[in-house]
């Protein structure tokens, strides 16, 4: 019987290998659900959790930058424990960490050896429960953060990127950097920071993923240790910010900057990543401007040698979606490249793509995501992203299926309705030219 059972296992394994996806299991404990992938080959663990609506858009008016400020302080000193002590404890436990935030959410990633699991989680819990930060660190970050915002004013690339978002999202929180504003940061008080976790980190906006040498009991331990004490409902989650369609600028927004190369960012509307048209847009964007084999790259870089690189990408946030592209070139060539961008958008709209392009794009798009999956951290952030997007555990299979099912006809029809060279907006950071 046992032999038979083994045989079955093997056959099942073999069959499963035919179509590879993630080995994700869902776990549920204490009202919190999460995804987990078990890998016992190395006694190491990667843990990630995100809080929706803890990103910069949800910061109070006048205190723009609160999320960033809090995130920078998270692994600094507390009133009862110096920064040095915290770093030392994390080092001894071999815990590595990172924190990420954007317009919408805040995400924490941790790595630690399995044998330090209990102590590591207890210490992480301490950090989340004790957010009375050391005044010295509060002050240090306050001086550091505007420095971060200051980058916006010196680096032409950041300048142009911030510039276009500022204009196309005018009047909306997305117009402001997720690092906040210099003025906002100056108005943030210590009690805003110490109360941040209590206000923003709630069960109803929490998503957890665990990858590595962890069993069911271990996963429960994670939940019990880290999230038992946190409140259920986030007051913020009732706060519904309005969705926005990025505006089209009538003429390029120009930021004068004395640099040898002008940096240009351009935007175009995009469908949301949960719309039926999303993958059609993904395919078209790939062919148009993603990577060094795209139409734009071949024309502007390979054939004409006008730029070092040119790229486009789709961005889909909670409240808005848009295509963003960029290139750098000498001031004299800016208009020439802009004209080519316009022409390529128009050509794709009118003539669509070729069967060969579609075949290549499908092959690429159903394979490239694997590049991010070699490390535990890469797997973790991939599945955590999918979870935050509200996708199912079989998202790889689903997406591949969807992409493979797209026909040339429907994509070209969509191109006609979506792409519009007159909806391109530009922001240029560089020297003024005589016009």
């Amino acid at each position: 019987m046992r032999i038979f059972f083994c045989l079955l296992c093997l056959i099942a394994n073999t069959c499963a290998a035919e179509f590879s996806g993630f080995n994700i299991k869902e776990f549920s404990h204490g009202g919190i659900k999460g995804w987990t992938i078990k890998d016992s080959s190395v006694p190491y663990v990667a843990l990630g959790f995100s809080f929706a609506k803890a990103g910069s858009s949800y910061n109070p008016k006048g205190k723009e930058g609160l999320s960033a400020y809090f995130a920078y302080l998270m692994f600094r000193g507390r009133k009862d424990k110096s920064r040095h002590e915290i770093t030392k404890t994390l080092d001894d436990l071999y815990v590595s960490y990172s924190v990420h935030w954007d317009y919408d959410q805040m995400t924490f990633f941790f790595n630690f050896p399995k044998e330090n699991m209990e102590k590591s989680l207890q210490f992480i819990a301490y950090l989340f429960e004790n957010t009375d930060f050391d005044d010295k660190d509060i002050k240090e970050i306050r001086n550091y953060l505007p420095g971060d915002a200051y980058v916006d004013y010196t680096d032409a690339n950041v300048l142009a990127k911030r510039g276009i978002l500022k204009k196309i999202f005018k009047g909306h929180p997305y117009a402001i950097s997720s690092n906040g504003t210099v003025a906002g940061i100056q108005y943030i008080r210590p009690q805003d920071l110490s109360s941040f976790a209590g206000r923003y980190f709630k069960r109803d906006n929490l998503k957890v993923s665990i990858v590595g040498d962890m069993n069911e009991e271990d996963n429960k331990f994670v939940i019990d240790t880290l999230f038992k004490k946190i409140g259920v409902e986030n007051g913020q989650s009732k706060l519904q910010l309005t969705k926005i369609t990025p505006r089209t600028l009538k003429k390029p927004y120009f930021i004068v900057k004395d640099v040898p190369q002008s940096v240009v960012y351009f935007s175009h509307p995009s469908p949301d990543n949960n719309s039926k048209d999303w993958f059609k847009a993904v395919v078209l964007n790939h062919i148009l401007g993603e990577g060094d084999r795209s139409r734009l790259w071949r024309e502007v870089r390979d054939r004409k040698g006008l730029v070092y690189g040119i790229n486009t990408g789709l961005n889909s946030y909670e409240l808005a979606s848009f295509l963003l592209g960029n290139f750098s070139t000498t001031t004299e060539r800016v208009e020439q490249v802009m004209a080519i961008v316009k022409e390529k958008f128009k050509a794709m709209k009118n003539q669509g793509i070729t069967p060969n392009e579609l075949k290549e794009a499908k092959s690429y798009l159903t394979g490239y995501y694997a590049q991010d999956l070699v490390s535990l951290g890469g797997i973790l952030s991939t599945i955590q992203d999918a979870k935050m997007m509200g996708l199912g555990m079989d998202f790889v299979e689903q997406q591949s299926k969807l992409i493979n099912s797209l026909t040339l006809k429907e994509i070209n029809e969509f191109a006609k309705s979506w792409l519009d060279e007159n909806k391109l907006s530009y922001c240029i950071a560089g020297r003024k030219t005589e016009r």
Binding site: A17, S20, F22, V42, Y94, Y364, A370, Q371, T382
Partner: protein
């Protein structure tokens, strides 16, 4: 037949039970043509890492032709009889794969990361370029330019690169590690297409290669694929690696100084040290621990004495490379505080090393370092690319799987006596080389 089958499956099942211990699930086999294959199964995510290493690196470059191995690495992307120039990279792109290669002293490796169903295509192309390389003259000339540009970027424009050339050339009297992987510029200039193809014919063959694949591919299916694609490449006569041994040294300390604004102030002390392939394994394990005890992190001996107590250095570290085909070296490095005279740091470092040898290490030092090293190893190999590289580069540098996998447990078995004996054996005398770099600013100050 069915009885036979069941037995077959039990064996596999038992094997996989053994593998459920905390260690990558490795299985090794050799194809009829001599290709050595290691399969590391891990189905946590839909990805495979495919790496092939040839047991030939820059150390196999002919006299007067340094840089050949590295040049060949570049040409391997420039077309075969069946797949002309451009097709390899087109295939990589179409499959959404990531691809690269690297040349080191003892091996040359090619690797890709991809979604598992693409493995067959990757194997088809990789097996093809194992024996059918046919770059055209244009590609050859273009790559020569690229190689020279790489030389300029890494060496011509970088004092740090120039210094490492000088250090290695002076440290190794005979071992090929004295010759740079990139090659000497006057020799790269003169490498002909024939030189590169001669090297290729001499060393690139299944019986001189190590294939390591880690990820979401089931063993039997994987084995079939390797037989189907790599199995077709004919075995050839493999020449022996001709390596000159290092002659006796005489207790000398060679001193290298470099003065340049770009390079910053630093003192390096380099000692002879054994490698895992030829040396005493216990010594190697002890030295791996000592690398940590002496110079890794804020609890290390040198950090405590030079940074915390004497406040003479800003940072310290140690390096030890035991996985080469021939012995390499053990070094300690310190960066001084700006105001310090570099000589002072040099004396302090020497005194610290002597003190460490004299006082030895404590049980507590050892346990702490063992633990941290274990965690570092786990963190490292939890990454499939790192895991693949770990196995492939060590196998192709002449180590066997048993020795490679024994290192972690070997380290855990080391005792305080082993460490102290090793300290006395390798660090009692002055280092064989001292490297001092000073910024030109400092020199002006001194004058």
């Amino acid at each position: 037949m069915s009885r036979f089958l069941s037995l077959f499956f039990i064996i596999i099942f038992l094997q996989s039970n053994v593998y459920s211990l905390n260690k990558p699930k490795t299985q090794m086999f050799t194809l009829k043509n001599g290709l050595n294959v290691l399969h590391v199964h891990n189905d946590r995510a839909p990805v495979v890492v495919h790496m092939i290493c040839y047991a030939a690196g820059s150390a196999e470059d002919m006299m007067g032709k340094s840089g050949t191995a590295h040049y060949l690495e570049h040409l391997m992307f420039r077309g075969t009889v069946k797949h002309p120039d451009g097709e390899f990279m087109k295939m990589i792109h179409e499959n959404g794969a990531a691809s690269n290669a690297f040349t080191v002293y003892d091996s040359t490796c090619y690797h890709q990361v991809a979604e598992p169903s693409r493995l067959e295509t990757l194997m088809k192309f990789e097996a093809d370029r194992m024996s059918n390389l046919a770059p055209n003259d244009q590609a050859f000339a273009k790559e020569q330019q690229v190689v020279l540009e790489e030389y300029e970027a890494r060496i011509g424009n970088r004092k740090g690169g120039q210094l490492s050339f000088a250090v290695n050339a002076s440290f190794f009297w005979q071992r090929a590690y004295g010759r740079p992987v990139l090659g000497w510029k006057h020799e790269i200039d003169k490498i002909t297409k024939q030189d590169v193809l001669d090297y290729y014919k001499k060393w690139y063959m299944p019986n001189n290669a190590f294939l390591v694949v880690a990820g979401d591919i089931e063993f039997l299916k994987f084995k079939k694929l390797t037989e189907e694609y790599y199995g077709r490449v004919p075995k050839r006569v493999l020449p022996a690696r001709m390596r000159l041994a290092e002659p006796q040294h005489f207790g000398e300390t060679v001193r290298i100084e470099m003065r340049d604004q770009q390079i910053g102030c630093q003192v390096q002390m380099i000692f002879d040290a054994p490698n895992l392939r030829l040396g005493d394994k216990k010594d190697v394990y002890a030295l791996l621990i000592l690398e940590h005890i002496i110079g890794d992190g804020s609890k290390s001996k040198l950090y405590k004495s030079l940074v915390e107590e004497e406040k003479i250095a800003q940072s310290v570290y140690a390096f030890y490379e035991p996985y080469n085909y021939q012995p390499y070296s053990f070094g300690v490095v310190a960066t001084p505080k700006c105001s310090i005279d570099i000589k002072e740091l040099e004396y302090a470092m020497k005194a610290s090393m002597k003190r460490i040898v004299r006082q030895g290490v404590t049980e507590e030092d050892l346990e702490y370092s063992k633990k941290q090293l274990k965690f570092l190893y786990y963190k490292h190999i939890s990454d499939l690319y790192a895991q693949t590289r770990h196995y492939a580069s060590q196998l192709s540098a002449g180590l066997n799987l048993v020795d490679i996998e024994a290192v972690t447990s070997g380290i855990l078995d080391i005792k305080v006596e082993d460490i102290n004996r090793t300290l006395n054996k390798y660090f009692k005398n002055d280092p064989r080389m001292t490297v001092v770099t000073v910024t030109s600013q400092k020199i002006e100050d001194a004058v």
